[in-house]
Amino acid sequence: MAKADGHILRVQGLKTYFPIRRGVFSRIRGWVRAVDGVDLDIPRGQTVGLVGESGCGKTTLGRTLLRLIPATAGTAWFEDELIFSANRRRMRQLRRQMQIIFQDPVGSLNPRMTVQTIVGEPLKVHGLAHGRALRQRVVNLLEQVGLSPGYLNRYPHEFSGGQRQRIGIARALALEPKFIICDEPVSALDVSIQSQILNLLADLQDALGLSYLFIAHNLAVVEHFCGEVAVMYLGQIVERAGSEDLYRNPVHPYTKTLLSAVPIPDPRTKTACQAPVGDVSDTSGPFTGCPFHPRCSLAQDQCRQECPQLREIGPGHFVACWRTE
C-alpha cells in the first residue's frame, strides 16, 4: 500500500525488539518483543487513543514512531514520507512536524533552564527565530497554553505540576507540528488539574488542526478524548474501534476485562471486575498463540497455538481473537 493515504500517520507491521544480553561477552540471549507487529492509522486532525497496562509497549510504540528508539521492522508513513528510512536531514525536517508531550512534567524539563530557554530551544535548534523574534514567539506560545508571559525567566521548580505540563505543551507546539504524541499527559496530575490540561489539548486541536496519538492507561479519560481507540496487550493491538463502539460493545476478552476493572464512581454500584488471573506475562520467552491466552478464560487449543490477526467484525471495528469467529 502506498503512502499514508490521506492519513497523517500510517503504521504497518511495526516491531521494536530489545536484545537481552547476558554473560561475559554480552551475547544476545533473547529478545523482548515490546512492539510486535502493530498496524495503526491516525486520521488527520483526529485523536487516536492507545490504552494498555504498563509494559504493554504503548510508550515504546510512541517513541519508535519518533525514531527515539530504532524500529526492528515495519514501515511508518508520515504523510508522504517514510519515517524509518529518512536520512538525517529529512528526519530533522520530520521532527519539526512530530512532537511529543511526556508523562512526567518534572523529569522532562531541564531544572537549570528558564522557561524562555526551554520553550525557545526547539526554535533555536532549528534556526527559526532568534533575539527579539524568539522572545516574542515564546511569549505567544505561553499565552497559547494559558501561562502568563511574566513567567519567562522562572525555573521549572517554581511551577506546579499542571503549569509544568503547560510548559511541556508550549515546547511541543514551538515548531508548529502537525502531529503530537501525548504520552500519558495527565496521569501525574491532580484530578482538578487533569481536566484543565485535557481541555487545553482539545482547544489546541480545534485551533491548530493537530492530530494526536493519545497514550493512556485511564480508560475513562481516553473515551471522552479520542475518536478512535486501540487496545494494546503485550506489544500487539488486540482491538481497535471507534471510541463509542469500543466502550459500548467491547469484543476482545482483554478489553472487556480492562473496562470492567475501571472503578465506578458510585457507591451503590460495586465494580464487578472479571479480573484476569495473574499479571501481564513476560514477552522475552518464546510463546505461541494469542498473547492473552494464559490469562483468558475462553482460551482453547487454537488460541495457544496460533496468533490471531486483526479482523474487521463491524464497520471500523477490528478484533484479534479466535473466539469471535
Binding site: 497496562e53 504498563s54 506546579s160 505540576g161 499542571g162 503549569q163 491532580d190 484530578v191 482538578s192 488539574i193 487533569q194 481536566s195 484543565q196 485535557l198 481541555n199 482539545a202 492507561h217 485511564n218 480508560l219 475513562a220 479519560v221 473515551e223 471522552h224 478524548f225 463509542e244 466502550y247 476485562t257 480492562l258 473496562l259 470492567s260 476493572a261 475501571v262 472503578p263 465506578i264 464512581p265 458510585d266 457507591p267 451503590r268 460495586k270 465494580t271 471486575c273 479480573a275 484476569p276 495473574g278 499479571d279 501481564v280
Partner: protein, 344 residues
C-alpha cells in the same frame, strides 16, 4: 472513647527553608472496626501527613505535631513514649504506602522482610515466623507463596509487591490498616484485584481501614465514610452515599464535575479553575475562595475561615454559602448516621 481510632484537632507543622508550613490544620476523623474511612484530596492537601502523624512517623526535627490528640483504644498516642509507640505501630496500627518498590528493601528477600516485621512484634522462633510469612502471603493471594518468599522485590511485579506490602502489614493482624494511595501506581486490573483483596480482608477480620486517595471512584468502591481535605483542612465529612448523592462543598462539587466517567460523551470537562494553593502562602479566609464559583466576591469568604458545622444529620461541612450553615451547630466528626437523601 468508644471509638477505635479517633484523631481530634490534629495540627502538624513543618519548618522548611522558606518558612513554616502547617500541613495539617485542626483535622479530626475517626474509624471503627469493620469500617472504611476514605480521605480524599489533591497532592499537598495534608492527607498523608495526617496519617503519618497517627503513626508517629513525622520526620523530626523539621516536622512537629503542635496540637490535638490521637485516641487509640482509650489512650492518647501522642502522649506515649517512643518505646510504647513502637508496640502499637506495625502491630496494632499498620500502614501501606503508594510505591511498593521504594518501601521494600531491595537487598533482602520478601520473606526476610516479612519475618523481620513479625519477629519485631511477636515472640516466635524464626521457623514459625517463616511459616507465618508464607501463610500471610497466601492470604493476600500471592500464587506459589512457598517459593515467592525467597524472591527479591525486583523479581516481582508491581501488583505482587503491593501484595507483599499488604501481607507484611497484616502479618500481625492489626486493628487498623492505613493505606496511603495503595493502588495509584498500579494498573486498573491489578487495582481491582487489590481493592477486592482489601475489602475481603476487612470483612473477614473486622479490621478498620483508612484509605487515602485522590481517586473518587476508588472511594466509592470501598469507603463507608469520606473526609474531603483541601489545603490542610477537612472541608466536608459524611457518609459515602451522602457525599456522592449530594456533595455540598463547592470544592467537592468541582471534583465531581471534573471526573471523567465511562459512558459520558463529552469532549470538554468542567474544570476547577486555578491551582492548588501553595502551603507557604495560603489565601486568607476560606482557602478555596480564589477558585470558588460562589465565594470569590464574598467579603466574608475572603476574610474568615469557616469552621466545620453539622449541616444535616451525619454531614459536616465548612462553607458559608451552604443553605442552613449559619444555624448549624459546630461539629467536626459526623457521629450520627446520616439520613437517607431523597432522590431528586
Amino acid at each position: 472513647m468508644n471509638d477505635l481510632l479517633q484523631i481530634r484537632g490534629l495540627c502538624t507543622e513543618f519548618r522548611t527553608e522558606d518558612g513554616l508550613v502547617r500541613a495539617v490544620d485542626g483535622v479530626s476523623w475517626q474509624v471503627n472496626p469493620g469500617r472504611t474511612l476514605g480521605i480524599v484530596g489533591e497532592s499537598g492537601c495534608g492527607k498523608s501527613v495526617s496519617a503519618l502523624s497517627v503513626m508517629g512517623l513525622i520526620p523530626k526535627p523539621s516536622g512537629e505535631i503542635v496540637g490535638g490528640q490521637v485516641w487509640f483504644k482509650g489512650q492518647d498516642l501522642l502522649k506515649l513514649t517512643e518505646r510504647q509507640i513502637r508496640e502499637i505501630r506495625g502491630n496494632e496500627i499498620a500502614m501501606i504506602f503508594q510505591e511498593p518498590m521504594t518501601s521494600l528493601n531491595p537487598v533482602f528477600t520478601v520473606g526476610n522482610q516479612i519475618v523481620e516485621a513479625i519477629k519485631l512484634h511477636q515472640k516466635l522462633r524464626t521457623r514459625d515466623a517463616w511459616d507465618l510469612a508464607v501463610e500471610s502471603l497466601q492470604r493476600v493471594g500471592v500464587p506459589s507463596a512457598a517459593e515467592r518468599v525467597y524472591a527479591y522485590p525486583h523479581q516481582l511485579s508491581g501488583g505482587m509487591r503491593q501484595r507483599v506490602m499488604i501481607a507484611m502489614a497484616l502479618s500481625c493482624h492489626p486493628a487498623v490498616l492505613i493505606a496511603d494511595e495503595p493502588t495509584t501506581a498500579l494498573d486498573v486490573t491489578i487495582q481491582a484485584q487489590i481493592l477486592e483483596l482489601l475489602r475481603r480482608l476487612q470483612a473477614g477480620e473486622r479490621m478498620a481501614l483508612v484509605l487515602i486517595t485522590h481517586d473518587l471512584a476508588v472511594i466509592a468502591q470501598i469507603a463507608h465514610t469520606v473526609a474531603v481535605m483541601y489545603a490542610s483542612r477537612i472541608v466536608e465529612y459524611t457518609s459515602v452515599e451522602a457525599l456522592f448523592d449530594q456533595p455540598l462543598h463547592p470544592y467537592t462539587q468541582g471534583l465531581f464535575r471534573s471526573l471523567p466517567r465511562l459512558g459520558q460523551k463529552k469532549r470538554r470537562l468542567d474544570a476547577i479553575g486555578g491551582t492548588v494553593p501553595n502551603p507557604l502562602a495560603f489565601p486568607s479566609g476560606c482557602k478555596f475562595h480564589p477558585r470558588c464559583p460562589l465565594g470569590c466576591d464574598d467579603k466574608r469568604c475572603q476574610s474568615v475561615e469557616p469552621n466545620l458545622r453539622l449541616i444535616r444529620p451525619g454531614h459536616v461541612l465548612a462553607c458559608f454559602k451552604a443553605a442552613g450553615y449559619e444555624d448549624s451547630p459546630p461539629c467536626d466528626i459526623p457521629t450520627q448516621a446520616p439520613t437517607e437523601v431523597s432522590n431528586g
